[in-house]
């Protein structure tokens, strides 16, 4: 796999003070593939994601999106990236529809009114479209966050615990959206505390152990490992 892959990390190092968090992380995710990164609290999953998104700079190494350094990505490339983090990036005093209008304007989404209506329907928020986000539950915010991150059809998705706060129906909805993005050629990096058993989603599984990214199973890479049996945890 080359550095023109949508998502790549080369020898990433990151420390906070004297505490090393990432120690030489390498990762490549090609279009149409997904990498699931698991690890205990404080392992560095969110740190890795923020560096990949260009929000933080590594102490050493390179985080690349579409072959360019993520911290210095040109606007055209940034338009192709979707981001889901612990924070929703939603404005509490705007309605769900207004939030999506703003992000559609930011990302130059054509036919925004129709797209917004469609996405609100997809994430189950059509009824609450004109309610302010301030009054939303955490699960409703997460649904709107997914719509915000996907409405501009990104080619690279960085998602920090995308299933957090979602009920069973929400998890199925999110999994369907992620599956559609994968089928559309999107490269995806997700994080979670433990392996996900989501029907019909294929991940390459990695774990951050003492700052290093360990592929599971041992032969690593980012190719799909076959459909994950929802009755069993991923190996």
């Amino acid at each position: 796999m080359t550095d023109a892959a949508p998502i790549a990390a080369r020898g990433l190092f990151k420390s906070f003070g004297a505490a090393p968090v990432l120690r030489g992380v390498d990762l490549t995710v090609a279009a149409g593939f997904a990498a699931l990164i698991i690890g205990r609290n404080g392992a560095g999953k969110s740190t890795l994601l923020r560096i990949l998104a260009g929000l933080w700079s590594p102490d050493d190494g390179a985080a690349l999106l579409f072959g360019e350094p993520s911290a210095a990505l040109p606007p055209a490339a940034r338009r192709r990236v979707g981001l889901v983090t612990h924070q929703s990036f939603l404005y509490p005093n705007l309605t769900a529809r207004e939030n999506l209008e703003f992000f559609c304007a930011l990302y130059g989404v054509a036919g925004a009114p129709e797209q917004i209506a469609r996405w609100l329907e997809r994430v189950g928020l059509a009824v609450a479209a004109d309610d302010r986000v301030r009054g939303f539950s955490r699960g409703m915010e997460q649904r709107l966050t997914l719509a915000r991150a996907l409405i501009h059809r990104p080619a690279a998705l960085l998602m920090d615990e995308p299933f957090a706060a979602l009920d069973a129906e929400g998890v199925a909805m999110a999994a369907a959206l992620i599956g559609e993005a994968l089928a559309g050629g999107c490269a995806i990096v997700l994080t979670a505390h433990q392996p996900l058993a989501i029907a019909k989603l294929e991940f390459a599984l990695y774990e951050i152990v003492r700052g290093r990214l360990v592929a599971r199973p041992a032969d690593g890479g980012a190719e799909p490992r076959g459909a994950i049996d929802p009755r069993q945890p991923a190996a």
């Binding site: 923020r50 998104a53 260009g54 929000l55 933080w56 700079s57 606007p75 055209a76 940034r78 338009r79 990236v81 981001l83 983090t85 924070q87 929703s88 990036f89 939603l90 404005y91 509490p92 005093n93 705007l94 207004e98 703003f102 992000f103 930011l106 990302y107 130059g108």
Partner: protein, 217 residues
């Protein structure tokens, strides 16, 4: 910018607080200084008005960026295709509009409390106030991006912004006082030039430096 104005209109509490504080400042100045009328009133009124302007600027500039930091939206803006220079201009414009609205209310209160008239002298003062609001908004927006990343940043903003703005503040107060007193345009122009020069400095510095200070680290 439209999003910022919508948020501010929905929030509303900042404008109410500013109008109330402007009223308080003007009342205190009227009773403390006991203006006798005429030219002395104009100078005192101009000074009180600029105190209200600085207060509006500090609050307005910090709020337009606070809305982004409190809910993590600044990260979304940084990660988005939005040019960071354009972000600065949007925040500057929102802060300027916020200050202009607060100043309009303060001017009305000033006229009432200082026994002035709604006449042509206010029109001569308007460009001075507008330039002052622009310069302070430009400076405070840049400094708000810096102080927003540190602990107790809200307290740091006025401590940094006001000393840096003092030369422009002096020029603004002098020009406003001259305008309100009906002085010839030449008397106002000499102070206006200083104000314009600082506006150019602050706007240039803000537009050049904002993208480097708005990041997470």
């Amino acid at each position: 910018m439209r999003k910022d104005l919508r948020l501010e209109l929905r929030g509303g509490e900042s404008l109410v607080a500013l109008v109330a504080l402007s009223l308080l400042i003007l009342v205190v100045m009227v009773f403390a200084l006991d203006p006798a009328g005429g030219v002395r009133d104009a100078a005192t009124a101009a000074g009180a008005l600029w105190v209200a302007l600085i207060l509006a600027g500090v609050i307005g500039s910090s709020r337009v960026l606070l809305a982004e930091r409190d809910n993590g939206c600044i990260r979304a803006l940084i990660a988005s295709p939005l040019d960071r220079g354009a972000l600065y201009w949007a925040k500057l414009t929102a802060a300027f509009i916020f200050m202009a609205i607060a100043e309009a209310a303060a001017i009305v209160l000033m006229v009432l409390f200082f026994n002035l008239d709604f006449d042509w002298r206010l029109m001569r003062m308007a460009p001075v106030i507008a330039l002052g609001a622009l310069g302070f908004a430009a400076l405070a927006t840049l400094l708000a991006a810096i102080t927003g990343r540190v602990r107790a940043g809200d307290m740091l903003l006025p401590l940094l912004a006001i000393p840096l703005f003092v030369p422009a503040l002096i020029a603004g107060v002098k020009a406003s006082g001259a305008a309100l007193a009906g002085a010839p345009f030449a008397a106002i122009a000499q102070w206006l030039k200083i104000l314009v020069a600082f506006d150019v400095l602050f706007v240039s510095a803000g537009s050049l430096l904002f993208e480097y200070v708005i990041g997470e680290e």
